[in-house]
Amino acid sequence: MAIPILFVLSVFLGIFAYTTLVERKALGRIQNRFGPNRVGRWGILQPIADGLKLLIKEDIVPRRADQFVHFLAPVIAVIPSILLFSVVPVGTRLVPVDLNIGILFAFAVSTVSVLALFMGGWASRNKFSLLGAMRAVAQVVSYEVPMVLAAVAVVMAVGSLSTLRIARAQSGGILNVTNWFVFRPWGFVGFVLFTIGAMAESARTPFDIPEAESEIIAGYHTEYSGFKFALFQMGEYLASIAMAGITVTMFLGGYNGPGSGPGWVGGLISMFWFFIKLAFMIVLNIWIRGTWPRVRVDQLLGFAWKVLLPMSIANIVAVGMWHYLTFRPLAWVATTLWLVLWFVTLSKLAATENVAPRTYRYAS
Amino acid sequence: MEAIEKIKEVAAQAVPGAKLEIINSTPAAQQPALLVDRDHIYAVAKFLKEDPRFQMDFCSCVTGVDYLQKADNPGFIEVVYHLYSVAQKHGPIILKVRAPRELDQCRVPSLTSLWRGAEFQEREAYDLYGVRFDSHPDLRRILMWDEFTDHPMRKDYVPPADYEWEPTPHHDTLERTVQVGGITPPTAREELEKARKK
């Protein structure tokens, strides 16, 4: 048990450090810039330089801040994010902890992180921080529900909450690929819903409203500097990586891929596949961050309750249909139709006059 | 649009009692203005805005000008309004109104209730020239800070000598800064010594 845990702590922290670099490089290239390229070749030492810089920066605490809570918040921000990794099966032979309630544990732990955001924002005694904290709380509470419901679909299909069993359920098929849940109608919808929920939960663009820099400066961590700030960033990145890992496990077949298997060789191959998929999810996150503008807080909540929630409930029904219609072609047609119907209806309902193309005239 | 003489005539009919006068621009600019007395500026402006012949619905530019005392006049602050018409696409009609330079008497009626566009510009004129616009909804300083007491665009404004020493090659400025006192970096004195030796 110790080795997997050490593995998680070292490898994922390394991934976190280099995700920041990859993100900055990729965003740079998306924006036709170079990105960091001064520290080492291709900026390869940039994360280390950043870490050193943040370590030796002065730690500033506002005079009127709530000292204890202000100190506690960044610590609490990191712990749940690291705990999340404990249930992510990295390879056939490498699961840190195989909890029977894996998915539930993940959700339970990830909700704790919102406390950190709230504590940080509240303790700073800054109005912008406070606004950020309020936004964070509202956002995370709303997005939990559709996210959990999207996960319920998978749990229903597998019949277990254990992440390892979910991953195992997706093996087999052609090249260990066709059984991935994302290649089922309900799985695809679930994947999209869960990805959106995960992005919102970890406050990534376009849902980064708790720290929307153009509106409320830096939201809940406006008054943090130095290593405390780094801890917040770390918690956020680790959470988003862990969420990506859980998404991979639940929908993208986990560690399954061509050549993965129970043996040592198969195990190594399965780890390879897992990290490839994880990288895909991270890159998708970065790509979206480089492209989309941010949504507004009320739109975000409206989207969660009016679109995602009905859709995820419809998805659960779809899984039920899939379960009972054992004649597969019929199940495909029925669930697809059902979900498309819902998608179209919800799009119609969501599209108000606020989102419509316009025509323009020219002055005479 | 009609010539300025016509406008004057029409306005004089519409607003009885208004003292109107034509003031010429530079010969090339061809923008004669209508000088209106303080008591009737609002009525004349309202007339020009509402009369279907003019419809001056766009108050483009509001500003003050400080004319110092001269041989032939006692000096005054002039407020200039440039009016255009968006509806009829003509203009400008330039309205001028004069007020004495003394701060307590320097008052003119505000035209903000006719044109919202005059709001910030009248505030600016108040800030920089000290013109009080009566019945302006929010007459505060806009460019200078609230605690500032003077009106810096007046021609007789003397800037306070509390500015920071700047490395200027003009030694008279340097000398003055040192004389005035305040906080001057030691280099300023050295610089001055050097300049004097030269």
Partner: protein, 388 residues
């Protein structure tokens, strides 16, 4: 930035909340140090939750008494200072000032120079509009991607400006009666190249932005400025046209050679942030048309009126007002010349972005904090011009 929290001052009861759940309003000072106030600008907001219930713009942090400086130096001396008004568009600022002085002094500008001025100011317009859209999207949280695309294209235009006028942003290019340096045939070819490739960039830009659902949801029906208010509040430029005001100084005054050029003036219907965004896109397309014609038609001739002296330039006593359609709106200069006429007796700038701020509160009320920043972004202010 943020005042110390004092219990009494900070919280006041929301008006009209009697009998409801007791909520308190929060006074937040957005700015002067804030990522999206486009400089040192402050908005005193009173928030009910996230909704704005009152907002007062506070400016003057960049005030340097530009007008008084100008009244202390010769007519020509203010020309480089006009570059610093709206520092994105120094070319059109130059033109406005030159135009006003020419009006006062009765100077006839050679045709070649007029065309050069049109080329430069329309290049400035597309530069400004693309950057403004970028800044606006920055405020929307697009992490600078559209802004950097706009900067990429702006770079080519700035390179041309540097090649012609010697400086990228502080061009100081126009002179009374013409322009300072002529464009060589090489410069004209570069300009043609820029113009021919710009529509491609615009298409890419629009593919990235115009149909984007998040952007539509964020921009449409936000910050509506009705047409009547727009006229009454002296709003000018793209902002007024987005509200449906059919007014463009280029069409009304036909200054320069605009009377001869064929272009249309796009007008919006709703007057919200989205219209202000899209009107700018359409204006860029029209500017491309103007540039194509101007680059094609440009006649040979002197680039500056030979009779205008550089030194000891004098204007007969009197006043006058000259205005142009700058990218941000109607930019005017009201000048008074005194006896002697060697320097302006009065020099007043009619800054479009300053006056366009008049209706900021009207547009923001009832919207969220997140909308305030994009409404401000859609007004397109440059603090160098607002504070002067």
């Amino acid at each position: 930035m943020i005042q110390p929290l004092t219990e009494e001052k900070q919280f006041t009861r929301t008006p009209g909340s009697e009998g409801l759940i007791e909520t308190q309003t929060l006074e937040v000072s957005i700015g002067p140090q804030h990522p999206s106030t486009h400089g040192v600008f402050r908005m005193d907001c009173v928030l009910d939750g996230e909704t704005v219930v009152a907002l007062k713009p506070v400016m003057g942090y960049l005030h340097r008494n530009h007008e008084q400086l100008a009244e202390r130096m010769a007519w020509l001396g203010s020309m480089p200072y006009t570059d610093r008004l709206d520092y994105l568009n120094s070319m059109s600022n130059n033109w406005a000032y030159a135009l006003a002085v020419e009006k006062l002094a009765g100077i006839k500008v050679p045709e070649h120079a007029e065309y050069l001025r049109v080329i430069m100011s329309e290049l400035t317009r597309i530069l400004n509009h693309s950057c403004v859209i970028g800044f606006m999207l920055q405020d929307l949280g697009a992490w600078g991607t559209p802004l950097l695309y706009a900067f990429r294209e702006r770079e080519r235009i700035l390179d041309l400006f540097e090649a012609v006028s010697g400086s990228r942003m502080m061009c100081n290019y126009m002179r009374f009666g013409g322009v300072r340096v002529d464009m060589t045939s090489k410069d004209l070819a570069v300009a043609k190249n820029i113009v021919s490739r710009f529509p491609r960039f615009l298409d890419e830009f629009e593919m990235l932005l115009t149909g984007n659902e998040v952007l539509l949801a964020r921009m449409q029906r936000i910050g509506i400025l009705p047409k009547e208010l727009a006229i009454n509040a002296s709003i000018s430029g793209p902002m007024a046209r987005a509200s449906g005001v059919e007014y463009d100084v280029r069409k009304i005054d036909e200054y320069g050679v605009y009377g001869r050029l064929d272009f249309r003036v796009p007008v919006g219907n709703v007057g919200d942030v989205y219209d202000r965004y899209y009107i700018r896109v359409l204006e860029m397309r029209e500017s491309i048309k103007i540039l194509q014609q101007a680059l094609h038609d440009i006649p040979a001739g002197p680039h500056v009126a030979p009779e205008v002296k550089l030194r000891n330039f004098k204007i007969p006593p009197g006043d006058g007002y000259g205005r142009i359609e700058a990218p941000k709106g109607e930019l005017g200069f009201y000048l008074v010349s005194d006896e002697g006429g060697k320097q302006p007796y009065r020099y007043h700038v009619r800054p479009p972005s300053f006056i366009n701020l008049t209706t900021l509160e009207d547009m923001c009320l009832g919207h969220k904090v997140a909308d305030v920043v994009i409404i401000l972004g859609s007004i397109d202010i440059v603090l160098g011009e607002v504070d002067r």
